[in-house]
Symmetry: D2
Subunit: 269 residues, 4 copies
């Protein structure tokens, strides 16, 4: 291998193949995909390498539609709106918002998918389903504390309205044979178990319901976060753009009259 | 207005209305949208406030599908792949890539849409169409130089394969009455004129063709950039994720054996 | 030139020269700089190519110290604090804050430096100083509106306390022969003129005073923004880190009980 | 507590206290700091709450000077240069580069500081120093693999020239009583132990040497990353600015003639 060959292999991809006048995505010329596949199908093709059936793509589409927005109280949306008042282009506004979707703000779907896959794998290895659920929850709590990603909502009490609708779509898809329904069952078993553990019912939230969908469709957990980022990008763009039209310069979190509280060091004494 | 009222109005939106257990997007409860509208319809609803007809959404969808990827030679894709080797989460990887879509890398669609609207407005005010095209091109060149956004491609010679396919879809949509076809005509007139000016034919590229679509559908120019960012986010996510699976640590642009050229100051002497 | 040579020249720099075991910055081995030059001297060396005199570096240092923080009401600081509650690493927290320093939030120093250099250049070409000031202000207002970057402050009335201190240091430096004092004079002439134009005195703010310093020291205007970003990075880091220690999860701009105002579409009717 | 009080406490800080015309940093009016404290002293004051002695600040300054740049092969620098060719402002260019300094690219100093503090704490609790070193290294390898952060360098063989210079400054500072020298000793014990374990000497790198300095000065480990981000921001700014002056549009990692390798799916068959 010459040095130049070495160079050619420095960046390698199985996603796209290009030469002048030709772009092939996963082996298919782009012009055969444009106007033919849906945007969710394209997202699936790009991230996974094959085209989904139409029913699979519709379930993915429901998850993508569900997560677009949670209003200016969400840090991702607020940061994008602030960015819009600082003179940034829409691309920078969007990047600012998406950058915020870290483990705490954007990671619950990924973490929940990991829990669901973990339970599923234990059952495949012969574990009793109820015990698998209890063990996985217990291991999570030991490491991360009592909040189980995908269940409960600090704002939407008693129920996050997105979750039951998404779960109904999963059950329909299971009945139609599009998905197995296995992860919906596991998700519900987790919900039951958390409720029993805390002595009060708890509801699955959007992160739990989308995690069920992504697991049913075979997406690996990190893509649960990635797909949520795509979905939320729509809200980030929309709010950034709305803020640009409203105007405002250097908008901080509160009106100028509200000063942050100063914790003088001697207050601790 | 009390101080607290003043506060409530500090962040205001017509996109989303929430209370515990309720999320309404542009006035419609989210659970009525999930599984009912397509992802492109949701993007339209979020950014514009109303739901498009199905045929309009399909034209938008074609534009979203077309722009997802241009391979690791594109700075947005390369930066995302590098970021993935630096230990970042997928949200940060995506933000890094999207941040790159500035005026030069992600702004051509927006700039082209501005040109097309400008020509259209002049014609509406009674200008001769050919003269409007010539005047707008001339004004652009005076300020920005000879590269007209949306036309020609440094890599895809003679033709960017995405553009003719998109333009065929626009013509179909015009024939079906979904759009007027007016901006397709203007785009073609611009293409003809640039070709005449330089004495050699030039082809519309993806930025030109998507600008035509966004103009036909009534999106304001800044959203041409925003929608491209959404589209390209799919490629950024896919390449970031592929790179994570390939591994690699701190990958620079070239293999470690290739050092950048050092321009010693006395070389200028 | 072989293809591989072409490659070697793809990235070229006069800042750094490296080979295994050797790092030279602007021609000087790094180990000769560490412990020998101050951090501001290093910033000057990196951005400009030569080492400043100690007195020059001290004036730069004063400007770097002055801009570090403006509290959680500043969008850059607020976004960093929010990011810290979303589970991001400190690098991503800092990037989120720095990204916000666009034309409106971080560009005033650069814009003011451009005005000062423009006035200076006109005087060099023989213009009457007072007329040069008036013409440059008038041209700015025609394009950008009435706010002149570097003068006035929406919060610090009547005076931003950083500006008079910085200007006193400039005057001292001019008296000592470290700088010419020319841009301090121009800045004061601009201040006088704006006051006359609006019929009420106006004070130079930190962006004006640092712009004067950067012009006196010979930094091109875009570096005025870059140096401010370096300075403000200190505050962004400090607030992000303080927020991490305070804890909090997904902190939006206001407490959860405060909902953004929903502008229903029919409110416009 | 009224709702508005609750609001005032939503953002709280002990860093800065402001009212119109007054800015106090950690209790000191900003105008008393400008021109009086050095930039490294200000960095210390902002991040920690008190002002360091001059000798302490000089040791911090050496660490800040050492890390500014590692050339365009570093992903942080390369991404910034690419960003500069995409039409971004310098603030966005800088954010793009700093965002890259994740666990792999920017986290080694923080991780090394954690190891050093861990060894120190074990010795404080009565452990044998050699055993503490061996146990901490062994625990790290079990979780993270064989690369110990802060030691060895893939490019600078045999020695990263920044580390011995920094360590000499630490030894001088220990002799002068500025620092205890304890973490320098621990760092050297770690270096010896790794060398013995692998049967070949290994050298401390810049991350190890700066971790020693930050530990000696009492900075908590996350600030090791934060301070490195501040330092590297200087290089990111300088290279971004140099690239802006060189020009170039949409520069990918390699010249346009070098295409990434396409891994066709059937190559795996």
């Amino acid at each position: 291998m010459t040095k130049t060959d070495d160079l050619g292999a420095w960046w390698r991809t199985s996603i796209i193949d290009m030469e002048p006048g030709r772009i092939a995505i996963r082996g298919t010329p782009i012009e055969e995909l444009i106007g033919t596949v849906s945007f969710p199908q394209m997202i699936w093709l790009m991230t996974r390498g094959d085209l989904p059936e139409s029913a699979q793509a519709q379930l993915l589409e429901a998850a993508l539609v569900a997560g677009v927005d949670h209003g200016p109280q969400a840090p991702s949306i607020a940061a994008a709106r602030m960015a819009a008042t600082c003179g940034l282009g829409l691309n920078n506004v969007m990047a600012t918002g998406v950058n915020m979707l870290g483990d705490v703000h954007g990671g619950a779907g990924e973490q929940c998918a990991e829990l669901l896959f973990d339970i599923s794998a234990r059952v495949d290895c012969g574990a009793d389903p109820e015990k698998a659920v209890a063990d996985v929850l217990s291991a999570w709590r030991d490491t991360h504390g009592k909040i189980i990603p995908g269940f409960g909502h600090r704002f939407h009490k008693p129920v996050d309205p997105r979750a039951p609708r998404l779960m109904a779509l999963v059950r329909d898809a299971a009945q139609a044979g599009t998905v197995s329904g296995r992860f919906a069952e596991i998700g519900e078993a987790v919900q039951t178990r958390i409720g029993a553990d805390r002595g009060a019912p708890i509801a699955m939230n959007i992160d739990g319901a989308t995690a069920v969908i992504f697991c049913e469709l075979g997406f690996p957990p990190p893509l649960a976060r990635g797909l949520f980022c795509l979905s939320r990008s729509v809200g980030i763009l929309s709010h950034g753009w709305e803020q640009m039209q409203q105007g405002g310069r250097n908008k901080g979190p509160m009106p100028p009259g509200y000063l942050p509280h100063y914790d003088a060091p001697d207050e601790d004494a």
